[in-house]
Each structure stands twice: as structure tokens, then as C-alpha cells.
């Protein structure tokens, strides 16, 4: 984005906020975050991010509250190909800038009804009791740009109402007028999340191109809604939910193969769509003895999505044939997570989860099993946090698990240099066999260093 535009936007936001909310206890806070990752095998820097996160917040405590979060950041590497790239006034080829408008909403408390709170505007809605993995949370799309930071979500424009029926029953309804797709990982994980094309033996892929069809921006095509009822029963928080909308990951619905030579090379163009889905979910959180436990499950009912394949005719050379199949059957599938945490007497904290079905996995036969785990302990009055064991294990075939697993081991150390200042170093060490999310990039171990200053 043009640097002058970004500067103008930021200045505008600050001035506007200052003028508009001068009487409303406007608070400006945020953080600066800097992160670099190095791939150890090739000694290549794979992540270079500097982020300024600003949050504006205020209001009158019992009437309304407003909040906005913008993120200005440089992510990536210089993209200089010619001299003129070095002479751009906005320096956008030297520094790669981005402005992310994450949230901007207003809360109205006791709106129309005493027990009704309403949130209107761009917001991140996070449902579910799972830790970072929430199959019932389908309102805000996944932000998988950085797969190692999974659980992040994108803001969506929504009307969100919460009605407190009584002390123990709460109803939540969200209407999203416009569909927003998920972002996909960049870097090495991108191929794990991109739809794969396989050709019959003897054929090879030439050029690949794709087109994504977003739903029309109309209420009937693009809008989504979700409702949830929450209660506490026998000291367990629990909820039931329903979502009607679209899967936020695209699926190939059309493939066109075009021969480019006589030795079997094909150019492939694909069309991707976002399948319509309904999701019935439920979750709980509580404890058994002193162990914290939680669970969350979502039954996804997809609408059938046809698949069209256009390919060179074997019968009539020089012509194209069309085949109609199914990209996604309307067979329901169930994703779930079960987790627990515990703090040992020596202060060591353990958090572990079993996950059935990752973000991008669809169809009951395509859901793999994952374990996530984290063991951490604080030292020196909390100035140093050591996480010696952390990561995830994927198993895609239990009958032959030793040849079908993927492991990401992610130890980390966080040094709280001062209040508001934290320095982290860590690694992502990958291993695996067979065809799964982690084994496909098992030679891409990384180390990283991060610093974050809050203000």
C-alpha cells in the first residue's frame, strides 16, 4: 500500500479518535513486535516481521464501549528487481508494508432491553473451550498466515447480540452480512494447505493457475449467521451452537486440463469455491478433582458441491470432454478436541489436547488425529519462562503409526526483561513419515527470536 496513504490513514485515525472521544476516556495502547526466523538447514531467513499494533478504546462503562485495533507492519523481504524499484518514493519495494484493520466495534450495553448487549462493527468472534483449536468457532475466519501461530482469527463485520436470559442462561446470536475467507499459510506450509492436483501416470503438470469464486455480496449468497446457548451445569460451563454459512477454506470445483505438447504435459487451471456448510456444535469446560478439562465438538454438514473436469477427449482428438463428479459430498463429519491442564506442586504447568480433524481437513475419511502438548515452568519469580516440551504430533494412520506420523517440537524460552518487555527464543523442529501436515516439510527446521514491548 502506498506509504503516504498509510500515513494519512494512521494520522487520521489518531486525530479522529482524539477529537471524537476526548470526553470518553480514550485509551491508546498496543505493542511493538519484532520476529525473525531462520531455517537451519539452508541458513535462510524465512520470517522477517516488524509490527506496530495500536488499540484505541474507551466509552462510558455502563452504556457503551468502543474498541479498535490496527496493525501496521513490515513483513517479508525487499522485492527489488530493477533500479527504479529503489527509487520509489514510498519505498514499498525496499520495505514491504501492510496495514491490517483488525477490529473496530462499538458495544452497546442494555440495548433496547436491559439484558441485551450488542456489538456492532468489525470484530473477532471466538467461540469454544478448546485451546487455540476451536471447531465450533466458524464466525471469524482463520488467519493461518503464520501456521505456527494457529488459532489467530480475522475480524469480520458483524452484528453480535448477547441476551442474558437469567443468571445461568445466556443466548448469543451473530449475523455476518458478508463472507470473509480465511488466509492461508505463507512459506513452506503453503503447499500443505493448497489443494493438490494429481494426474494419471504418463501426464505431467505444466502451468498451474487458479481462480477463486467468492460468493456474490448479497444476503442470500454471502451472509452467515450463528446462534449459541450457554449455561453452567454441575459446575461445568457448557454450550450448544449452530452456524450456517460457508467453509472459510476454498475447494476445487472445476479443473480444466489443456495439453501443451505431445509428451503429456498439461496446463491446469482450477476454479475454487467456498462450500456452504451448517455446523452443530457443543462444548464444555470444568474440572475433575483439580485437573482442568475441556471438550468441544462440531458436526459439519456440508452442502453437496459438484466438480467439473474438462479434459482432452481421448475419443475425439483435438476436442474437450467434460466429466461431472462431486467435489464435496453432503456427508456430515465430526471434528472434536478434548483437553486438560494441570499445575503440579512444583509450579510446572501441563496443557495437552487431543484433536480430531485439523482446520483444513474435510470429510470424515480425511480427518487426522493430532496431539498438542505444552509443559512450562517459571523461574526467578516469573522473569523466565521455560517451555522445554511443546508442540504437536499428527497421526494419519493408526494401523501403521510409526510410518505415518508428523511431529513439530517447539521448545521456547521467554525472558521477561521488565514489565511490558518480553524476549523469546525458540525452535520448530520437524520430523515425520508418510503423508501428513508436518512430514511434508520435515526438513524445514527453524529457530526464531522475538521481542515484544507493550505500552
Amino acid at each position: 500500500m502506498n506509504r503516504n496513504i498509510i500515513q494519512s490513514i494512521l494520522t487520521g485515525i489518531l486525530l479522529l479518535a482524539g477529537f471524537l472521544f476526548a470526553d470518553d476516556k480514550l485509551n491508546i495502547s498496543g505493542y511493538i513486535h519484532s520476529e525473525n526466523r531462520l531455517q537451519t538447514n539452508e541458513q535462510e531467513i524465512t520470517w522477517n516481521e516488524n509490527r506496530l499494533n495500536l488499540q484505541f478504546e474507551g466509552g462510558k462503562s455502563n452504556k457503551y464501549h468502543f474498541f479498535s485495533e490496527v496493525r501496521l507492519r513490515g513483513l517479508g523481504f525487499p522485492n527489488v528487481n530493477q533500479t527504479s524499484d529503489l527509487q520509489l518514493q514510498e519505498k514499498s519495494k525496499v520495505y514491504r508494508w501492510g496495514l491490517e484493520f483488525r477490529e473496530a466495534y462499538v458495544d452497546l450495553y442494555g440495548f433496547a432491553l436491559e439484558n441485551l448487549d450488542v456489538r456492532i462493527g468489525r470484530q473477532i468472534v471466538s467461540w469454544g473451550t478448546g485451546d487455540a483449536f476451536n471447531p465450533t468457532s466458524n464466525i471469524s475466519p482463520d488467519d493461518l498466515e503464520d501456521i505456527y501461530n494457529f488459532g489467530e482469527r480475522l475480524g469480520i463485520n458483524a452484528f453480535n447480540g448477547t441476551y442474558y436470559l437469567n443468571d445461568n442462561i445466556t443466548l448469543n446470536g451473530v449475523f455476518i452480512p458478508l463472507f470473509t475467507p480465511a488466509t492461508l499459510p505463507i512459506g513452506d506450509f503453503s503447499r500443505a494447505f493448497s489443494p493438490q492436483i494429481e494426474l494419471p501416470p504418463g501426464l505431467s503438470i505444466g502451468n498451474l493457475s487458479d481462480e477463486i469464486l467468492l460468493p456474490k455480496p448479497s444476503i442470500s449468497e454471502s451472509s452467515q449467521y450463528a446462534i449459541k446457548i450457554m449455561t453452567t451445569l454441575l459446575s461445568y460451563d457448557m454450550s450448544l451452537s449452530y452456524f450456517k454459512g460457508r467453509d472459510d477454506f476454498p475447494l476445487i470445483s472445476k479443473v480444466e486440463l489443456t495439453p501443451v505438447d505431445l509428451i503429456g504435459t498439461m496446463d491446469i487451471s482450477t476454479v475454487l469455491q467456498y462450500p456452504e456448510i451448517e455446523v452443530i456444535g457443543g462444548d464444555f469446560a470444568g474440572s475433575i478433582a483439580s485437573v482442568g478439562i475441556w471438550g468441544e465438538g462440531a458436526l459439519t454438514i456440508p452442502k453437496k458441491l459438484p466438480m467439473t473436469t474438462i479434459y482432452p477427449s481421448f475419443i475425439n482428438p483435438g476436442q474437450l470432454d467434460t466429466m461431472q463428479t462431486v467435489a464435496l459430498e453432503n456427508e456430515s463429519y465430526f471434528k472434536y478436541v478434548l483437553g486438560g491442564d494441570y499445575t503440579f506442586k512444583n509450579g510446572m504447568y501441563l496443557n495437552t489436547q487431543f484433536i480430531h480433524g485439523f482446520f483444513h481437513e474435510r470429510g470424515k475419511d480425511a480427518l487426522n488425529d493430532y496431539f498438542s502438548f505444552r509443559l512450562e515452568k517459571n523461574f526467578f519469580n516469573g522473569e523466565l519462562k521455560v517451555i522445554p516440551i511443546s508442540g504437536a504430533l499428527a497421526v494419519n494412520n493408526w494401523d501403521d503409526a510409526k510410518n505415518n506420523y508428523g511431529l513439530v517440537y517447539a521448545p521456547e524460552m521467554i525472558y521477561y526483561f521488565s514489565d511490558n518487555v518480553e524476549l523469546s527464543i525458540g525452535a520448530f523442529i520437524l520430523d515425520g513419515k508418510g503423508d501428513n501436515l508436518f512430514s511434508s516439510i520435515m526438513d524445514k527446521d527453524e529457530v526464531y527470536v522475538k521481542i515484544k514491548v507493550s505500552f
Binding site: 474440572s287 483439580s290 485437573v291 519469580n381
Partner: protein, 256 residues
């Protein structure tokens, strides 16, 4: 001239009555069982119908380096307490709700979620301070500990407290020093499971606000970590208009 004894005779009943009164008073004081003393101390601490507090916590390490936490505390009755952090910036908005029957919730704004806290964290450090979540949740020693009177002088009761059966505490015993005239615990020594002195809480700067005595300064010393937390109350109001809705998940996630 009448002998002295004759002159003094009419006064004897009065003197005897006064002596009896004093003895009865002493006797009645002694008749308070240790459990009664502890219960009365709890009652004094929980006497206000509600309280609103703005306080600063200083976290002081063995080198004297200090960190500061500012927070608001709402309390209603014995069991309802809400703590909301105002600073430092990386903890601003973190809120903790304690409800009857050991139900606790934590709101972390960064995750936009309210999380029920399992009891395994009860004895963990509260936001890096020397107070545990349990220390911060409520003041109900009589419900959780048995008491033995170890000493009593003109000024103080000294009680030894031990957790009641089926009450899970990290402390094997407590030594509590209680001001006799106010029933305020001014010092508590906390012992670990091995019987070693672990933490010491001292309360000072006693001030009468409205009808209640309150310690405006509290210091918790962790002798193992050689770390102190000093809590200074900067503002306190008692028996104000305080809605029950404050002690709900609805209110917990309201930042301001």
C-alpha cells in the same frame, strides 16, 4: 470517730461488684473459643456489605528491583470478588472473578475469552505477586481451618490454624496474630507442607473508614523466593451501591 472498717463497709458491695464485673469480663474474654475468635476475625473482615478498592501492588525482588501492578477490586459479601488489572500495559484488562463454591473465572482480553479456572491454579501465584489465587479469592479462615489458641496477652490473640480435613491447601499450618480490640489479623505466618515458614503477611496502617477498620497496607513476604509484594490501598469505599451484575461473566469482559 468510726473505725476505718466501719466506714469502708458500705463500699464493699460496690467494690465486689466491680471486681466481679472485671473478672466476668476477663472470664468472658477467655471463654471465646479459638474458633469463635477466628470466626469473629472473619466476620470483622467481611462486615462491610460490599467494598470497592483501588490498589497498587509493588513486587520487590531480592535485589530491590520493583514492578508495579495497579488494580481495581470489587467485593460483595464473603464470596464475590472481581479483580481487574489496570497496569502494566501487558496485563491491562486481565480480570479475575471469584464466586461462591470456589468457582473462578479468568478473562484474558488478548484471547477474547473467559476461562473457568480449575482448582489446580488456586495455590499458584496471582499475576506474579506473592499472593496466590486462593489468597486473593476470599477471607474465610474459619470455614477452612481449625484453630488452637497458642497465646494471649493484653493486645493479641495468637492462633495456630490447620487446614480442615478435605480442604486442599498448600499450607500445613498458619500462625495468626489478631488484635484483641479490633479482631483484625495483623500478621499471618504461612508454613509449607514440610513445616517450614514459607510466607509472612503483615497488615499495617490501620485506618477507620466509615464504621470499619481497614489495613491500608499489606505486605506478603515469600521467604523461599526472597520476594515481597506490598499492596497499598489507595482508595476504598464501603457499602456503596454495587450491583450483583458486577460479579458475572457479562461484566468480567467489560474492559472499562
Amino acid at each position: 470517730m468510726r473505725p476505718f472498717i466501719t466506714k469502708a463497709l458500705p463500699a464493699i458491695p460496690v467494690i465486689l461488684f466491680l471486681v466481679a464485673l472485671v473478672l466476668m469480663g476477663k472470664l468472658m474474654g477467655q471463654q471465646l473459643s479459638p474458633e469463635d475468635i477466628l470466626q469473629k476475625t472473619d466476620d470483622v473482615a467481611n462486615a462491610p456489605k460490599n467494598q470497592y478498592m483501588e490498589s497498587t501492588m509493588l513486587l520487590i525482588d531480592k535485589d530491590g528491583d520493583q514492578k508495579e501492578r495497579k488494580m481495581l477490586i470489587y467485593q460483595k459479601g464473603e464470596d464475590n470478588r472481581l479483580v481487574r488489572f489496570l497496569s502494566p500495559a501487558d496485563q491491562k484488562g486481565i480480570s479475575f472473578l471469584s464466586l461462591p463454591n470456589d468457582v473462578m473465572y479468568l478473562y484474558l482480553p488478548a484471547f477474547r475469552k473467559i476461562r473457568m479456572i480449575a482448582s489446580h491454579v488456586k495455590n499458584e501465584s496471582f499475576a506474579g505477586t506473592d499472593f496466590s489465587y486462593d489468597d486473593m479469592s476470599s477471607y474465610k479462615f474459619a470455614d477452612e481451618y481449625t484453630a488452637v489458641l497458642t497465646n494471649s496477652d493484653d493486645q493479641y490473640f495468637n492462633l495456630e490454624l490447620k487446614p480442615k480435613p478435605n480442604v486442599d491447601k498448600d499450607y500445613s499450618k498458619l500462625e495468626m496474630t489478631i488484635l484483641k480490640d479490633k479482631y483484625i489479623a495483623v500478621k499471618i505466618n504461612y508454613f509449607d507442607k514440610g513445616g517450614n515458614l514459607w510466607k509472612t503477611l503483615t497488615r499495617g496502617n490501620l485506618v477507620k473508614k466509615d464504621d470499619y477498620w481497614v489495613a491500608m497496607t499489606m505486605m506478603m513476604k515469600d521467604l523461599k523466593k526472597k520476594h515481597n509484594t506490598v499492596m497499598n490501598i489507595e482508595k476504598i469505599d464501603f457499602d456503596i451501591e454495587m450491583s450483583d451484575t458486577i460479579f458475572t461473566k457479562r461484566y468480567l469482559k467489560r474492559i472499562n
